[in-house]
């Protein structure tokens, strides 16, 4: 593994994946805008978690799910895609991508490499559930090309894991991390979910400390969100206590203090990394970079067009097998909309978003002035930065109201 510093992208063969810049570095964010990545959606799950509204295939409900057929479809969809790349990052999300065998995952990686090409340091990342990890998992994943794993710990408090319907133990998470480290992944990330009404501040602090004690390079913390149509939302409609935004804000602050002490930089609302370990795919998304999306319900963004795939498995498979792109819809963005989207997305970054283009209009507007006056945004050098990441959407909404009468 090479950890040499590469401050700027210099050529065809070089990405930022191996740079040791701090994750919140503005140069990194600027470079990320030009990166190209691919997202691969693996929809299979052993069961649906109560808070999840993603496009998944719940194998506890659907009988005889054919993984092979899906992998073949993915490969075919990749082959149908227009030229793109070389890729700076590939991210396998889900669903539970670790339900596929490493051979199947390897076939998909190979298809991507054949079609688009990789750089020397292309980040190839996989979301893994701890219960799917066994002693040879790490080696197998490394051998088919993965450089990064993101382990879905969610919590280290068994009671909270219970209410979130997670089926692993805290020890399984710990073992997976150690095993992955030994297998030689460049980056190991953990996912945590906070702010369930049953969670206490002590429980959260405990989970945070256990996570930060592990040999990891990256950590994502997600506030539990009630999405429409989920089991969680039904419980709340039936009278269960909903998550409390103030409490979640406190938990977030607790986390930021502790992770910062442990050497992590917050670079996006929910993402924190040690120097050199910012997630390439993630940064690319939030800097309005271009990415392809493959698989069920996947989204992509290129040439000013955002498209999304079918989120029903039968439709997806039928289209791909008939040689048709499995598109459900597309949205064309004109130059102004692209400019505004880049601004809005960039607000989520600790490095902020360039104070040019739409940003200038916004900063001059009554809405922008008011936010500046109240210190919710600041201009640092040539960038606009949100000072309270937990209020990012409020700032974005103000920005949207400016764009509506400025167009």
């Amino acid at each position: 593994m090479s950890d040499t510093v590469r401050p700027m992208s210099t050529g065809e063969d070089d990405g930022f994946g191996s740079s040791s810049l701090r994750a919140n570095d503005a140069d990194l964010a600027d470079a990320a805008h030009l990166w190209k990545s691919a997202y691969v959606h693996i929809p299979f799950c052993a069961h649906r978690c109560p808070y999840c509204d993603f496009a998944i295939v719940d194998e506890s409900v659907e009988a005889n799910v054919d993984h092979r057929r899906y992998v073949d479809a993915l490969v075919r969809e990749i082959e149908m895609e227009d030229p793109f790349g070389p890729l700076d990052a590939v991210n396998f999300g889900g669903g539970t991508p670790s339900l596929l065998s490493s051979e199947q995952l390897g076939e998909i990686i190979e298809a991507l490499r054949r079609r688009f090409g990789f750089r020397a340091h292309t980040e190839v990342s996989l979301e893994v559930n701890p219960e799917d990890w066994s002693t040879d998992t790490g080696g197998n994943l490394r051998s088919v090309g993965f450089t990064r794993v993101s382990i879905g710990a969610q919590s280290f408090d068994e009671q909270i894991m219970g209410v979130l319907s997670r089926r692993h133990s805290a020890d399984a998470t710990t073992e997976a991390v150690h095993s992955a480290r030994v297998s030689g992944f460049r980056t190991i990330s953990l996912d945590l979910i906070y702010g369930h009404p049953r969670e206490t501040s002590a429980s959260w602090a405990g989970s945070v400390d256990r996570a930060l004690d592990l040999p990891i390079d990256h950590i994502s913390t997600y506030a539990l969100t009630v999405e429409r149509g989920t089991a969680l939302s039904r419980e709340i409609l039936a009278g269960a206590t909903p998550p409390d935004g103030d409490v979640q804000a406190e938990r977030y602050e607790t986390f930021c203090e502790r992770s910062s002490t442990a050497g992590f930089d917050r670079y996006e609302v929910s993402n924190h990394a040690r120097p050199g370990h910012a997630c390439v795919y993630n940064l690319s998304t939030w800097t309005h970079g271009e990415y392809l999306g493959f698989g069920l319900g996947a989204h992509d963004h290129r040439w000013g067009v955002r498209s999304r795939n079918h989120h029903r498995l039968d439709r997806y498979l039928e289209d791909v097998e008939a040689g048709i792109r499995p598109r459900l819809g597309t949205e064309h963005l004109d130059a102004d909309s692209q400019d505004r989207d880049r601004f809005m997305l960039g607000l989520r970054l600790a490095a902020g978003t360039p104070a040019s283009g739409f940003a200038t209009t916004f900063l001059d507007s009554p809405e922008g002035t008011r936010l500046l006056d109240h210190g919710l945004i600041i201009v640092e050098g040539d960038r606009v930065v949100v000072t309270q990441p937990m209020l990012t959407d409020a700032v974005a909404r103000e920005a949207l109201s400016v764009s509506s009468y400025d167009c």
Partner: protein
């Protein structure tokens, strides 16, 4: 038509007691309308009337009825509104009639407004046929209700007609009773024309349509007419009746009611209450007219988007074409910008006007809490009329404040007498007479400040008597009261639109309740928002809307930026219904919070 075979009558009823259904049934029975064309509430034309099940505007429909004596009779049903806000319209309609059906729900009994309108009909010398409706409902108690009616009108329980307008029971009997009990009109067919304008409305294509009742003489198309009060001379373009579809009759004889079109576009030229006569052969004395309806409550109406001010003005101008009781003048608020101070006949009128402005004219409005008209007497001996609390002169130059009082009539089941008395007392009411309508129902009279009624009195009365009590009121006099203005400050800045005039004894309680209510209504913002209530410079209450701490989604599923942006856009739309006051976003309902603080 021979005048002896004309019957002009109104139907007096409380809301929901079945007036429109009965009118529909009469139309159907006499063949004025086939069952196939029947739709509920035929006479109520406005969408709002149908939706709310109420009648707002008066209306006149002619039907022909062949009675058991074999003769054909002409009935003119003059429809009247049933709500206290529109009682002046009732009085107008009654002037055009010789009789009235007093319609009462067999399970509800007589309500205050029905009683008030019945008294009005008796005073106008109308013959009244008592009718109990909905006798086929399980909860019906027609005997008790008939006794109540006899207690009010005199006569015999047997004379009370029992019907079910819905199923048609008793309707034939009622039609006969109209022929035999109600007197025909008494005008002079050969005298000079005198016709009373009892309502008018504006039609986009035809201009002003006046509803008239010919008392003496006759009125034909082509006649040169004069409006006796305004002195305006006009030519009659068209004369006709509604059946209920429009039928051009070219002539209206004495005793008949119908419509007149002159092509005039300015509704102020044909005022309701004026007398129509012939220009060449004018009558000497005009008919007794009406007093102009006087607004009882005032409220500020402001467009949420300041650019809509002109559109609001145009919309008000248009609404006034059909509602001459609507008075308005431009008003400026530091908090809300440019708008209008609008006078209304009551709270329902206010609600209806606002709804029509928003719905028919696509305006987004902020309404301020209603206020009555005060008189401030100043130390220099002069006095000022105050329609908006923000216009109240400073305490230093004020000698006294007078406020309008109203005579209130409440009808309630006897078991709630104590509850009602207690409530009225907290609203500064002074007890007057008390009469038993029957052993179970009581009529209570009070003198009360109107300001107490326009707040939440009606809702409180309803909720404390489980919906059984009813209320009617009429203006009485102005009286001096110990009143103060309570101001509300947001972010330490006074917001004029929130100022309210209240009695000194209640000022602190009111201030606290108002601040608390506003804290509930104003959403958390990106910074703390202190809310204070003050009398002059003295702060009497304070609460803080704490800054919100979290407003962000954790992640964006699979790069679905489109969905993310759409969500933000939807949330932003919600914000549009907020008014920016300084740097605080205030929801529209906050401006009428004073109405919602109840008896906290």
């Amino acid at each position: 038509m021979d005048q002896s075979r004309i019957r002009n009558f109104s139907i007096i009823a409380h809301i929901d007691h079945g007036k429109s259904t009965l009118a529909d049934r009469l139309l159907e029975r006499t063949g004025a309308i086939s069952e196939r064309d029947m739709r509920a509430q035929l006479l109520d034309e406005m969408d709002l009337e149908r939706e709310r099940g109420i009648t707002i505007k008066a209306n006149a429909v002619r039907i022909d009825y062949t009675a058991q004596d074999g003769l054909e009779y002409e009935f003119n049903i003059i429809d009247t509104p049933g709500h206290v806000d529109f009682s002046y319209e009732v009085s107008r309609s009654l002037e055009a009639c010789e009789g009235a059906l007093l319609l009462v729900d067999a399970s509800q009994g007589v309500e205050a407004q029905t009683l008030a309108n019945a008294y009005m009909a008796i005073e106008s010398g109308l013959e009244i046929i008592p009718v109990v409706n909905k006798i086929d409902l399980p909860a019906a108690d027609p005997d008790r209700v008939a006794e109540e009616l006899v207690g009010i009108l005199g006569g015999d329980v047997e004379d009370v007609i029992r019907v079910s307008a819905k199923s048609g029971i008793g309707v034939d009997e009622l039609l006969e009773e109209i022929v035999t009990s109600l007197p025909p009109p008494e005008g002079e067919p050969d005298a000079s024309l005198r016709a009373l304008v009892f309502d008018s409305y504006y039609d986009t294509y035809r201009g002003v349509v006046a509803l008239v009742r010919v008392v003496d003489g006759s009125l034909s198309e082509g006649d040169d007419i004069r409006l006796m009060a305004s002195g305006e001379d006009l030519v009659v373009d068209e004369v006709g009746v509604r059946r209920p579809s429009i039928e051009r009759t070219k002539r209206l004889g004495s005793g008949e009611a119908g419509y007149v079109i002159t092509g005039v576009k300015d509704i102020d030229l044909i005022r309701v209450g004026d007398t129509v006569t012939h220009a060449a052969d004018p009558a000497t004395d005009a008919l007794a007219g009406y007093d102009e309806p006087k607004p009882m409550v005032y409220s500020g109406l402001f467009p949420t988007d300041g650019d809509d001010f002109e559109r609001l003005r145009e919309a008000l101008d248009k609404l006034r074409l059909n509602d001459s009781s609507l008075l308005y003048a431009p008003e400026t608020s530091r908090a809300l910008g440019f708008g209008f101070r609008v006078g209304f006949l009551g709270l329902l009128h206010m609600e209806i006007v606002r709804e029509r402005l928003e719905r028919e004219y696509d305006l987004d409005l902020v309404a301020t809490a209603p206020s009555v008209e005060y008189v401030a007497n100043l130390t220099d001996g002069s006095s000022v009329i105050v329609q908006s609390p923000q216009d109240l002169p400073d305490a230093g130059v004020r000698a006294s404040i007078e406020e309008p009082y109203v005579k209130v009539m409440i009808i309630t089941p006897a078991e709630y007498i104590g509850t009602v008395m207690e409530l009225v007392q907290t609203k500064r009411g002074e007890m007057g007479e008390m009469n038993y309508l029957s052993t179970e129902r009581v009529e209570l009279h009070y003198l009360m400040p109107l300001s107490e009624i326009v707040f939440d009195f009606f809702d409180l009365l309803k909720s404390r008597t489980r919906g059984y009590a009813s209320l009617d009121y009429e203006p009485d006099s102005y009286r001096e009261s110990d009143l103060v203005r309570v101001d509300i400050l947001l972010n330490s800045q006074p917001v004029d639109a929130f100022s309210t005039i209240v009695h000194r004894d209640r000022a602190t309680t009111y201030g606290r309740a108002m601040v608390k209510k506003l804290r509930e209504l104003i959403p958390r913002q990106l910074f703390d928002v202190p809310i204070q209530a003050a009398i002059g410079s003295r702060i009497i209450s304070r609460e803080t809307v704490k800054a919100k701490r979290k407003d962000v989604t954790a992640k964006c599923y699979g790069g679905d930026i489109t969905r993310k942006r759409k969500l933000l856009e939807r949330q932003k739309e919600g914000k549009k219904r907020m008014k920016m006051v300084g740097s605080v976003e205030v929801p529209q309902e906050a401006f009428v919070a004073a109405l919602k603080i109840g008896d906290e």
